[in-house]
Amino acid sequence: MSKNIINAIYGDDEVVLNAAKKLRSAGVTIREIFSPYPIHGIEAVLGVKKTRLATCAFLYGITGTLLGTLMMWYMMINDWPTIVGGKPNWKYFYNMPAFIPITFECTVFCAAHGMALTFLLRSWILPGVSPKNPDPRTTDDKFCVQVEAEPAQVDSVIAKLKESGAEEVKVQS
């Protein structure tokens, strides 16, 4: 069963916020809102779930810590023990302070890159992917609320959108 997708264009973020509230309480399913800038408080209105990106960041960070430690241990202790500044080189722990900055850098490197890549993959923003933005004006001065509707309900949903302050309403073909 295919659902129709309707795009409604608004001219003001306040109006979008109130419209989203009204539409949700009227039982209309909002797929996405496109906006030129972040609208304060829109997540709560849309009921967006708390992001799990932070958990990913933690896991990537731990991976970075372990990889960095493994790399330094292999290079400086195991494969070719190197004496730098007369420091003991037969145990990783004895040289710990010298390894801290690199451990830190590896942690940040992996966490930051892992997070960015995860975000891009999850949102499917990749080179060659066709943009999901239905109207280029939403990158300038307009706001677009994208809703779903059963074929039978399209007309009533359009009426609700117009009532909530939409300037234009178009059914996506």
Partner: protein, 417 residues
Amino acid sequence: MDLKLNYTLPDKTKRLTVVTMAAGLVIFAIGIIFNMLGHSEGHAEGHGHAGELSTRLWANLLVNSFFFMGIGLGATFYMALKYGSEAHYATVFKRVVEAVTKFLPYGAVFMLVVLLAGQLHLHHLYHWMDSSVYDPTSPHYDVKIAEKYAYFNPAFFWARFFVFFGVWILCQRKLVKNSLNEDLSGGTQTHFKNVTLSAFFLVFFGFTSSVASWDWMMSLDVHWFSTMFGWYIFSGIWISAMITILLLVLYLRKNGYLEYVNESHIHDIGKWVFAISFLWTYLFFCQFMLIWYANIPEEVTYFQNRLETNGYKGLFWMVFFTNFALPMLLLMSRDAKRNSGLLVGVSVIIFVFHWLDIFLIVMPSTVASHWGIGGIEIGMFLVFLGFMVNRLLVFLTEAPLLPKNHPYLEESIHHHV
């Protein structure tokens, strides 16, 4: 809505602070008695300055004077920082910050007492205050200190002391006074006066806080120097001040005041506590690692005294890891910074551990191996703590908790992150 704009100090709370002071005094006295009993047995130990009871008492007084003065100074810096950066979020609790800054003059008096006593040779915490080290004919002549006479001579030292405290206190008083005037006059003129004054204060403080920390703390190890030291001390006093402000805000909110301070404001102060903990850790570790790596005899003495000799090693690493790991692990998530119970728990613990940080700067250089954390230390800490809390609560009653006419007030009330 009936807003409680003026804080009234309940008698019970006031009594509690006095009881804390009294209890501290009793513990202190017991500590002294035990110390004297212990000493009368092992009298053959000798009369080194480090082992004398009076040295331990003065060193303790220095630890507490500096730590509690730092809270007033750190709060003054934070107050100026808010004006300088035109931060709007802190406007609703700025009266709490102002109350904490008012402790600075008391801290100045404590520091004056300790340093003046040193100058009058009542104690020998500061080796360079002894004039014989500059005299080539004296057996105590120390060429390394004598070379620094231009810096350490009493006239210049005391000039620095009075100029630093004078300007800090003047700025603090002027900023608070302007802020109160703003309630009456309105307009943005007073606000911009404070912005200008804050800009001056921040520049002045940036330089003088470093120099002051060399004068009062680093010169305890007069042969040693570290370029990280000023920043390290600064981050320590800043976090102590932020914890004090956070605890006061949470206390007031729990008692029905500051209704317009919402979760987002608490979250922001929590972020500061989290961030400055990292700043402190970063500076602590920078100082440690550079000295450890270079391993130059004249530099490593500082850590030699704290890690190899005198038995401070356990405490030293405990202070480092507590002040680093506790805020990092417990305050990392957004929810944790909005949880009053967790914030109070972490704050109280790192408050004590930042006091111990100052303890570890002063003690190994003064009493060396004759240290301990007993009745004397705990008692004196409680006396100072009770006194400071008592003063801060009285300061809170002096002005309405919600400022009027501040240009960012409306924005601050609706603060939401």
